[in-house]
Amino acid sequence: MKKIILGMSIVAATLSAESLTVISWGGDYGKAQVKHMIDPFMAKTGTKVLFDDYKGGTAEIKAQVDSKNVKWDVVDIEYIDLEKACSENMLERIDTSFLPKGENGMAANKDFYPAALASECAIGNIYWATVFAYSKNHIGANKPTTISDFFDLKKFPGKRAMRKRAQINLEWALIADGVAKNKVYDVLETEEGQKRAFKKLDTIKKNIIWFDSWSQAPQLLNDGSAIMAQSANGRMTEFEIVWDAQAFDLDGWAIVKGSKNVELAKEFIAFATSTKALSGMQDVNYGPTRASSGTYIPKEKLSKLPSAHLDEGFKVSGGFWSDYSTELNEKYNSWLLK
């Protein structure tokens, strides 16, 4: 009897190979993560990683946490949604002590840029920007250079593609309407500011194609359905990017609250944010959040990264959207349906 139990538990132990579910954004970004983070991690530790996509936002995470049925372990989350998710108890609180040193010997909390470790719920992995781009083949004689051109139907007739949410779209509307970049969130907090943003969006409303996922934007530019499309800068490598009013932000790895593999998740995050793995993000023109990763980035690449265009854009405010996301997205939805 004892022998049978011993035999069965050994079999059970070997059969239950560790498995981790990691969720990210798919497309070229996901492919780069597979190449530089997922595959090397699987090879190194023998853990099975289930890598899947999601469309962003906090709703799916919230649904899992609320129904106490957490299937996702690690999520790659935009910082525009991070503070909301963190303050609503959807993510595990993690300290930074488990992060490895940089290849240059610096301790993690000196090697990482401060913004990447600022949140108690995530470890930043990339700097990226929301920009808009156009295709040389479909744009015609005039080329857009500013965010006002995005809203100018006379000079640039045709459809625009935007992501179906209030975030970033409202900020762009205000900046195109003349609000200074550093005052955008102050104005957007007020009733009049919100009305002003929606009014500006009204001027192009009939010409907007709404999409859910960043990867739809390059498709729409390619077949000419839209002449200008909003997307993450890494998705637009084949097109001409306009950096004016770029919405600068971070992405980070977070652990869903109630995940059954918190320790394994931390192991993965430590690996994925190590110097070499992180430097792989330059493949999709995203800036790594560690100084030591810079040694792997050739000089010509630097101008393509969002960090080279900081003064043309504005930093997205996760704090603002943590407070106003629900309210503004409600207003956005009723505006959309009218």
Partner: protein, 407 residues
């Protein structure tokens, strides 16, 4: 004689028990997987204890609140701030903010800001709670905020059901229409019903001649041709919708053909809108109309039509007085089926409807998946259920359910 009567009664009872046993698996299935979930949804539409559970003491002491003073008294504010501080330290203040934001739009951001400020503050050191709240943000000067908390005392509430038809409670407790800019649900409901009527009409126009033709053929030929009606039925729904997108898109088959024939010179905007939704759903729901019509036409005794002709009636009179009424059972079955399916349809408007062709089910999905407001989604589902039952009752009155013939 009595012996025979008892014997027959026993036989009857035995037959009834046998019948019940045969049906009981299906009955159990329907009760567990159909009736119970619907009851749960209806309960969720009116029962929401979340705020009550998060700030139980505040909800009790605020009962005497009078909105004319805007702010409750200092005692109530102290209890509220104390409970809010506890929530803030536990990181659950965000949950309270979400719930209150659903009752009064904009309340959420105020709660979150206050929760952040109060987290590490010594509450006993605050001299005046009202002034403190106003110093955090002037938005606290809003009786609707306090009314929302006051109303949360009862976990049973009609707010979600009212919101689903663009109504709300005002400060006096009366039910009023929401202000113009916030009305979306009732409009969408009316639009959904309107589109369902259109789809039903179009399927009738297309299905009637088809069924008539099929019914007039000999049975073997008709069965063969029926495959053309059923084949799309057996094809994947997504494949059908995507083929319509290919047909209707800006440089798709329809537009290219019309441009080639010089009928138009700029492509028409016929995809990702209401027009595309109606056309696609007509195509998808056509078999539901053809089959019942075919059934009732097949079952008709053709001698009535011949008798009418021999009595001197012209073809129009024969059709309207004899033929059409005899097909009414199949027609009404098909119409009811198509209409009720249309008002609850989700996939077609989601894929090909764009913004213009959204139906009520798409808004339910939004509240289930994106805004996580399951209470409002349940209320909207409940209203759809009530509409369906009302229509069914009206149909029963006018035509009679027993007269339905599903082919």
């Amino acid at each position: 004689m009595n012996k025979d009567k008892n014997f027959f009664k026993a036989q009857e009872r035995l037959a009834k028990i046998k019948a019940f046993l045969l049906v009981s698996p299906l009955l159990l299935f329907v009760l567990v997987f159909f009736v119970t979930p619907i009851l749960l949804i209806l309960v969720k539409a009116v029962y929401n204890p979340k705020v009550n559970n998060l700030i139980p003491q505040t909800v009790v002491v605020i009962k005497q609140y009078d909105y004319k003073n805007v702010f409750p008294n200092e005692q109530v504010l102290k209890v509220f701030l104390t409970e809010l501080q506890v929530l803030s330290k536990n990181r659950t203040s965000g949950v309270l903010a979400e719930e209150l934001n659903r009752k009064v739009s904009g309340f959420g951001s105020t709660i979150k800001k206050t929760a952040r400020k109060i987290r590490n503050k010594d509450i006993s050191k605050i001299p005046n709670y009202k002034e403190y709240l106003l110093s955090v943000t002037k938005k606290w000067n809003n009786p609707y905020f306090w009314m929302a908390i006051q109303r949360s005392y009862s976990s049973f509430t009609l707010s979600n059901v009212l919101a689903a038809v663009d109504l709300e409670y005002n400060l006096e407790g009366e039910i009023v229409r929401k202000e113009e800019s916030k009305r979306i649900y009732f409009t969408i409901l009316v639009k959904t019903l309107y589109m369902a009527v259109l789809i039903t009409l179009f399927t009738i126009i297309l299905a009637y001649p088809t069924a008539y033709f099929l019914a007039s053929l000999p049975k073997s030929k008709a069965n063969l041709l029926m495959i053309f009606v059923l084949l799309p039925f057996w094809t994947s729904l997504l494949v059908r919708i995507v083929s319509w997108i290919t047909l209707l898109q800006e440089y798709g088959v329809v537009n290219e053909l019309l441009i080639y024939l010089s009928i138009i010179d700029q492509p028409l905007d016929i995809v990702f809108n209401q027009f595309a939704t109606v056309i696609t759903m007509t195509h998808i729901l056509l078999p539901f109309m053809v089959l019942p019509l075919y059934g009732s036409m097949r079952a008709m005794d053709i001698t009535y039509v011949k008798a009418s002709a021999s009595l001197g009636a012209n073809p129009f009179l024969t059709f309207f007085k004899i033929y059409f009424p005899l097909t009414l059972s199949g027609l009404s079955a098909g119409a009811v089926l198509v209409f009720i399916i249309s008002i609850g349809y989700y996939i077609t408007p989601a894929l090909i409807g764009g913004v213009d062709g959204q139906m009520i089910s798409n808004l339910v999905e939004f509240h289930m998946r994106t805004s996580n407001n399951w209470e409002l989604a349940s209320a909207m589902g409940g209203i759809l259920l009530v509409i369906t039952l009302v229509l069914y009752a009206v149909y029963n009155r006018l035509v009679g359910v027993n007269n339905m013939k599903l082919g």
